[in-house]
C-alpha cells in the first residue's frame, strides 16, 4: 500500500463513511420510527451469533452466515419450496433423459445485477468452476461425478453424469451447495477476489456494501425475474456476535428479523407479544466427532459404550433448553423419507449395556480423553454435559478443552484431536449427512472411519433414483453405522427466526435459508 492510499484510508471522510455504515447496524427507537415513516423501506435482518463474513463468492463460501447473504444475492437452477420440495428457480423445467443425462430449460429474461442476461453459458461456467478438480471450492466433491456440461442453446443446458447420481438435483438447489449461478462475463479471467468482495448475481437483492464485523447492506434488484419481488427496497444485515444480543436488539427495536435465536429464550419469547417466533425441526446434525486413529476411540466397544452412556433427551433439555430432538443417527428427522423413526438401541441411554460394552473394551473406567469445544454459549455446555454424563456413567475421565471454532476445525481436519463436539447445519440431502461424513473418502469424514459395507450402501444410494427406495438404503446404512458408532450422534436443533409482529411474508425453511426468503417479505 503506497503513501497516498494509506493516508487516504485514515482521512476523515473515510472515518465518517465507516462510522455511518457501522452505525446503521444499531438504531435507537426513533431512528426506527423515522424508517417506519418511510413505510418500511429497509428490512433490518440481523445475522445473530456470527461476527464474521469473509467471502460472498458461492464457490468459495463455507460459513453459514456467508450463505445467509449469498442466498439473497444468487439463484440456483432449483430451489426448495416451503414443503421442502424441489421446484424450478432459474431452471423453468428439467428432464431426466437417461440415468446419467439431465437437461435443464432455463427461464427467459433473467438478468444479473449488472444488467447482463443470464444464459446457459453462465450455468456451464459456474458448475465447471465449482467442480474443477484443481479448484479449491469446498463444494467440488458434490459435483465430482459430473462428467460433462453442454450448452445446447442459450436457454438449454445438459449435464452428463459419469454414473447415476441421485443427490444432483438437491445440489443444484439454492442451499449450502456452492452451485449458485455466477456471471461468466465477470469471472472468466476476472479478479476473483474483487468478485468475492462485490458479488454480482441474479438474486432479488444486489450487494451494496459490507463493513466487516458490522453489517452487509443490500438493495432490491430492479430486474428480478419474480414479478413485484422484492417488496422491500433495502436490506441491511447487521452482524451480531451473540445470539442473546440478537434478541436484545430485536426487543430494543434495533432490528426487524433475526437469523437464529438463543435456545434459552425461545419459550419466553413465544409468550412475548412483541415478538413473532418461527420454529421448525432443523436440517442439521450435532455429534461428538471421534478420532479413530487415537486411543481410546480406536476401540469400537469403547465408542459404543459412550454412545449409550448419556441421556440424549436430557441433553436436548439442558443444552438446547428443549429446542431440538434427540438424534437417532446423522440424518435429521426433518428428512423424514430417509430418517429411521424407531429409536436405535445403540443410540439410547442404557447404563447397563454401556458398562457391558466397556467391559468388552480394552479401555476400562478411568480412561482419560479430551473433548474439544469452543466459544461461549451452548457449544461449551454441550461438551461439558457430555463429558460429565459419560464420566458419571462409565467412570471415565473425559476432560473438556475449550478452544476457538476455527482452531477446532483445523485440528479436526489435521486429525489432531481425540474427540470434539461438531455438527453441520443447512445440509439438505441425506448424501451430505452420510456419504460426506461416513464414506471412507467423504470429505467431511475427519474420523478416519471406514466400513466397506457402509461405503457400498452409500454408493448404491447415490445411484438410486427412487426416493422411497433410496431412503430405505440410508436407513440400512445408518443402522450399520450405528454398530460402529463412528461418531456419537447427539441431537438436531430446531431452527428459529424471530421477528417483530410487523414482519409478514417470511417463510422459514428447515435449513434456515435466511437470505433466500427475504424477497417474499411484504412488510416490516
Amino acid at each position: 500500500m503506497n503513501e497516498e492510499r494509506s493516508v487516504a484510508t485514515i482521512s476523515r471522510r473515510t472515518l465518517v463513511k465507516g462510522a455511518a455504515a457501522g452505525s446503521a447496524a444499531c438504531l435507537v427507537p426513533w431512528s426506527k420510527m423515522a424508517w417506519a415513516a418511510q413505510d418500511c423501506s429497509t428490512l433490518r435482518a440481523g445475522i445473530a451469533g456470527y461476527s464474521v463474513v469473509n467471502v460472498l463468492d458461492p464457490a468459495k463460501a463455507s460459513l453459514i452466515p456467508e450463505f445467509y447473504v449469498i442466498w439473497a444475492l444468487f439463484n440456483c437452477l432449483l430451489k426448495f419450496n416451503e414443503k421442502m420440495e424441489l421446484v424450478g428457480d432459474l431452471a423453468e423445467s428439467w428432464e431426466h433423459t437417461s440415468p446419467t443425462l439431465w437437461r435443464f430449460k432455463l427461464r427467459d429474461g433473467v438478468t444479473f445485477h449488472d444488467g447482463a442476461p443470464m444464459t446457459a453459458e453462465d450455468v456451464k461456467f459456474t458448475l465447471d468452476r465449482v467442480r474443477a478438480k484443481d479448484g479449491d471450492s469446498p463444494h467440488k466433491d458434490k459435483f465430482a461425478s459430473i462428467s460433462d456440461i453442454r450448452v445446447v442453446d442459450p436457454l438449454t443446458v445438459e449435464i452428463e453424469m459419469a454414473e447415476p447420481f441421485a443427490p444432483l438435483l438437491s445440489y443444484l438447489a439454492n442451499a449450502r451447495t456452492g452451485s449458485q449461478i455466477v456471471p461468466k462475463h465477470l469471472l472468466d479471467g476476472g479478479d476473483e477476489r474483487s468478485f468475492a468482495d462485490r458479488p454480482v448475481g441474479t438474486g432479488a437483492y444486489k450487494f451494496v456494501s459490507h463493513q466487516p464485523n458490522v453489517e452487509i447492506v443490500l438493495e432490491g434488484h430492479s430486474g428480478y425475474f419474480v414479478p413485484d419481488q422484492p417488496f422491500i427496497p433495502n436490506v441491511t444485515m447487521p452482524l451480531i456476535p451473540e445470539e442473546a444480543s440478537g434478541v436484545t436488539a430485536l426487543l430494543g427495536g434495533a432490528i426487524d428479523l433475526t437469523s437464529t435465536a438463543p435456545f434459552a429464550d425461545v419459550p419466553n419469547l413465544m409468550q412475548n407479544p412483541k415478538v413473532k417466533v418461527l420454529r421448525s425441526p432443523g436440517l442439521n446434525t450435532r455429534f461428538i466427532a471421534l478420532n479413530h486413529q487415537t486411543a481410546p476411540f480406536d476401540d469400537v466397544h469403547f465408542r459404543r459404550a459412550l454412545s449409550m452412556a448419556f441421556d440424549r433427551e436430557a441433553m436436548v433439555q439442558i443444552v438446547l433448553f428443549g429446542e431440538g430432538t434427540a438424534a437417532n443417527g446423522l440424518i435429521p428427522a426433518a428428512l423424514s423419507w430417509a430418517h429411521e423413526p424407531k429409536r436405535r438401541p445403540l443410540m439410547s441411554f442404557d447404563p447397563e449395556r454401556a458398562k457391558a460394552e466397556l467391559e468388552k473394551s480394552k479401555y476400562g473406567p478411568g480412561t482419560e480423553a479430551v473433548v474439544l469445544t469452543w466459544g461461549a454459549g451452548w457449544w461449551k455446555r454441550f461438551a461439558e454435559l457430555f463429558a460429565a454424563q459419560v464420566n458419571e456413567t462409565l467412570g471415565t475421565r473425559l476432560r473438556v478443552e475449550v478452544s476457538e471454532a476455527n482452531t477446532v476445525y483445523s485440528r479436526l481436519r489435521a486429525k489432531d484431536y481425540q474427540a470434539s463436539i461438531w455438527g453441520w447445519l443447512g445440509l439438505i440431502d441425506p448424501d451430505e449427512y452420510t456419504y460426506e461424513i461416513l464414506h471412507t473418502d467423504g470429505w467431511r469424514n475427519f474420523h478416519g472411519y471406514s466400513n466397506k459395507d457402509v461405503d457400498a450402501l452409500l454408493e448404491r444410494a447415490r445411484g438410486e433414483m427412487d426416493q422411497a427406495r433410496r431412503g430405505e438404503i440410508y436407513k440400512q446404512a445408518e443402522s450399520l453405522m450405528a454398530e460402529d458408532a463412528p461418531v456419537i450422534c447427539c441431537f438436531e436443533s430446531h431452527v428459529h427466526n424471530l421477528m417483530t409482529p410487523e414482519v409478514n411474508g417470511f417463510v422459514q425453511l428447515p435449513y434456515s435459508a435466511f437470505g433466500g426468503q427475504l424477497a417474499a417479505v411484504t412488510s416490516c
Binding site: A244, P262, D265, N268, Q317, I318, A376, K380, E384, E401
Partner: protein
C-alpha cells in the same frame, strides 16, 4: 474495620462454608435445572441444575487464588526491578523503569487480553496476565520508596560498612518499604479478580468446568433473560468480595500512612 470483617466473612465462606454446602460445585442434577432463588438454593440453580451459591463459593476460591498468585508474582518481580533500579541507578534504572512505564501505558485489560491471545486461554495464563498488568505498579512504588530510603543514614551507614548490596536491599531497605507494598497488594488482588472475571466472562480466561467467578457469570450471561439470578447473584458476590478487599486496602493504607490516618480523624 469493615474491610477486615467482610474479608473475614469472605474467607470463612470460601474455606469453611463451601465444605458445609450440601451440593457439589460441578455435579449436575437434571431435576433442578434453572431454579430461581429459594431457601434450599439461595442463589438459585444454573442450567445444569448446579447450586449457584456453592459454585460461587468454589469459584471465589479459584478466582481469589488466581488473583493472589498473580499479584504475588507481580509484587515480587516488580519490587525486585524497582528496588534494584533505584539502588543501582544509571542506565539500568533508566531502561528498566522506562519499560515499566511502557507496560503501564497499556490499558490494563487490553494488555491482559493481548497476553491471553499470545499464551492461549487457561488458569495459569490468566495469572500471568494479572502479574504483567500489576508489575509496573509495584516496580514504580518500590522504586520511589527505595530512592527515599536509600538516603536514610542507617542505610548509608550500612553501605559504608561495605555490606553486599543484595543483603542491604533485603535486610535494610525491603523491610522499610514493605508496608506500602502490602497495601498496594491488597488493592491489587481486588483488581486481579476483576481482570479474571472480565477475561473469563468473555470466554478468554479460565475455562469450564473449573468454576471461576468469571466462568459462572459468563454461563449466566448466556441465558440471563431466562434466568437472571445466575448472573446477578454471582455478580453481587463479586461486588461483595471486591468491597471487602478494597476497604481492607484503604484501612491498611490509613494504618501505614500516619498523615492519612490523622486526616481520617
Amino acid at each position: 474495620m469493615t474491610g477486615l470483617a467482610i474479608t473475614g466473612i469472605l474467607l470463612f465462606a470460601i474455606l469453611v462454608v463451601a465444605h458445609l454446602m450440601p451440593y457439589s460445585p460441578t455435579e449436575m442434577s437434571f431435576t433442578a435445572v434453572l431454579k430461581p432463588p429459594s431457601w434450599e438454593h439461595i442463589f438459585g440453580t444454573d442450567s445444569f441444575g448446579r447450586d449457584v451459591f456453592t459454585r460461587v463459593l468454589y469459584g471465589a476460591r479459584i478466582s481469589l487464588l488466581i488473583s493472589v498468585c498473580g499479584v504475588a508474582l507481580a509484587m515480587s518481580i516488580g519490587t525486585a526491578i524497582g528496588m534494584t533500579a533505584a539502588y543501582f541507578g544509571r542506565l539500568y534504572d533508566l531502561v528498566a523503569m522506562r519499560f515499566m512505564d511502557l507496560l503501564f501505558s497499556f490499558p490494563s485489560f487490553v494488555l491482559a487480553l493481548f497476553l491471553m491471545v499470545i499464551l492461549g486461554f487457561g488458569v495459569v495464563n490468566v495469572m500471568f496476565a494479572i502479574a504483567l498488568v500489576y508489575m509496573p505498579l509495584f516496580a514504580r512504588l518500590a522504586h520511589n520508596m527505595t530512592l527515599v530510603v536509600r538516603e536514610e543514614p542507617y542505610v548509608q551507614a550500612a553501605r559504608a560498612t561495605g555490606q553486599p548490596s543484595i543483603r542491604l536491599l533485603l535486610r535494610e531497605i525491603l523491610p522499610n518499604i514493605a508496608a506500602p507494598l502490602m497495601v498496594q497488594a491488597s488493592i491489587g488482588v481486588a483488581f486481579g479478580i476483576i481482570i479474571e472475571a472480565g477475561l473469563s466472562f468473555l470466554g478468554l480466561g479460565v475455562q469450564p468446568p473449573t468454576p471461576s467467578l468469571g466462568v459462572i457469570m459468563a454461563d449466566g450471561q448466556e441465558y440471563f433473560r431466562r434466568a437472571p439470578w445466575v448472573l446477578t447473584m454471582s455478580g453481587l458476590a463479586v461486588c461483595f468480595a471486591l468491597l471487602g478487599l478494597n476497604l481492607l486496602g484503604d484501612g491498611l493504607r490509613d494504618l501505614v500512612d500516619p498523615r492519612l490516618r490523622q486526616r481520617a480523624e
